[in-house]
Symmetry: C2
Subunit: 249 residues, 2 copies
């Protein structure tokens, strides 16, 4: 296993950071690493906003949870799917692109683009001995987040990323069995085998929690998933995304 | 610059591969690297399908372009956003999750999840001296692709990735100026500055093409973008995604 794969495999989310800011050089390398990722048809459909203003960080920490590590970290990045740049491009080229930019396909392109970039940023940060945590919680309150960050139409802040010097270590959660996630030539056709894999995984996950919590917590992966999904969270998203001028047609 | 960041920065898409297959160990490490990425609320909402069947590879190469490197490579991965697994989870837990799984939010979660995983896979492959190319072209014909791969409801193949031993080297295209992509504390408010950045970038890109093509090709980034976006491609996507039971509410 080479050094890069070892670092990839060693990933865990870090939610507690030393009181030590990233340097502007570190931030620049992280953003440039993000930009080095593949991008669909060279579209580069994302913007990254670094939050240094203490009032804004505190507000985002509140909106995302509250989650203290959104406020207390070495640097806070916000990753936005961005097709507003292409509206400006259209103006520069004296064209009207508003309709095609509103398509579901273009929304998918921008969402994939920003996630590829973000994962490069995550790994670049981790390679420097920093820890990271993705902040999906900002999607709890996107209308407030977009207002706070002065986000124009055709832009959606998809997630944040808190980066910093790790305070303590967290554990790596075991992933789904590889045979459940990786299929050959077609989608796994055997449902019983599929369920057996998930049952085995449930044992792994409840064992993981039992061990970590002195047998207090015993939940399985499937029970966690059902609990999370039945919360029906963020049901405003479809309307919100459409109001931002994306995913409309 | 450490070895990991050097590898991230050195990325370029490879579209021509030696006639040499990946080993099953290499494939396994790539998939495990994908699985090590962060995942929203531990949802792991993706499936990766490895295509080894020559007939299927040829069909996908045709559907995606035609693009010969989809057929001729060391291994072909298909990355799918997957909430079908969670339908099965719901059955196992005797719950009905069909409505919440149909939300735009969950579609975004799955799309982000699979992209984070894919970028880890890309980097793991590149760390082993392999080259990669994302294949967004499969989205030209998703009804045919889903049929070919026996894809169930709540699953969307988002992109492929051709991996293999690079034949020759390709060049790295210069990215948008960092100040255009990275803003501080709020979305860049100054539109004139923004346009000036894009104009400067246009010079960079047309210079890049002039140099590579002996001044035959001179296109700018903004002209490329307008050309690509006015093609209005993949307008079936919204209906297709909804028919797969995603992004509906």
């Amino acid at each position: 296993m080479n050094e890069i794969i070892a670092k990839i495999m060693d990933h865990r989310s870090i939610r507690s950071f030393e009181d030590r800011l990233l340097t502007s050089e570190q931030i620049e390398v992280i953003v440039q690493s993000a930009q080095a990722a593949s991008t669909s048809s060279f579209v580069q459909a994302y913007t990254i906003i670094g939050i240094t203003d203490a009032v804004k960080k505190a507000a985002l920490a509140e909106l995302a949870g509250p989650q203290s590590y959104v406020e207390n970290n070495g640097h806070l990045f916000m990753f936005c799917a961005d097709l507003h740049r292409h509206e400006i491009v259209a103006e520069m080229e004296e064209m009207d692109l508003s309709e095609p930019l509103e398509s579901t396909e273009k929304f998918m392109v921008a969402t994939i683009d920003v996630a590829l970039a973000a994962q490069n940023a995550a790994l670049a940060a981790e390679s420097m001995g920093l820890g990271i945590c993705y902040i999906g919680g900002i999607r709890n309150h996107l209308p407030e987040v977009t207002k706070l960050l002065n986000i124009p139409s055709k832009v959606i802040p998809l997630f944040g990323m808190a980066v910093g010097y790790p305070m303590g270590q967290s554990e790596k959660k075991p992933r789904l069995p590889i045979e459940n996630v990786y299929h050959e030539n077609e989608y796994q056709p055997d449902k019983e085998k599929f369920i057996a894999q998930l049952e085995k995984y449930n044992d792994t996950i409840s064992g993981y929690y039992r061990k970590r919590t002195n047998a207090v917590r015993k939940d399985t992966w499937t029970s966690q998933m059902v609990g999370m999904i039945t919360k029906k969270s963020r049901l405003y998203m479809k309307d919100f995304v459409e109001r931002q001028g994306l995913n409309k047609r």
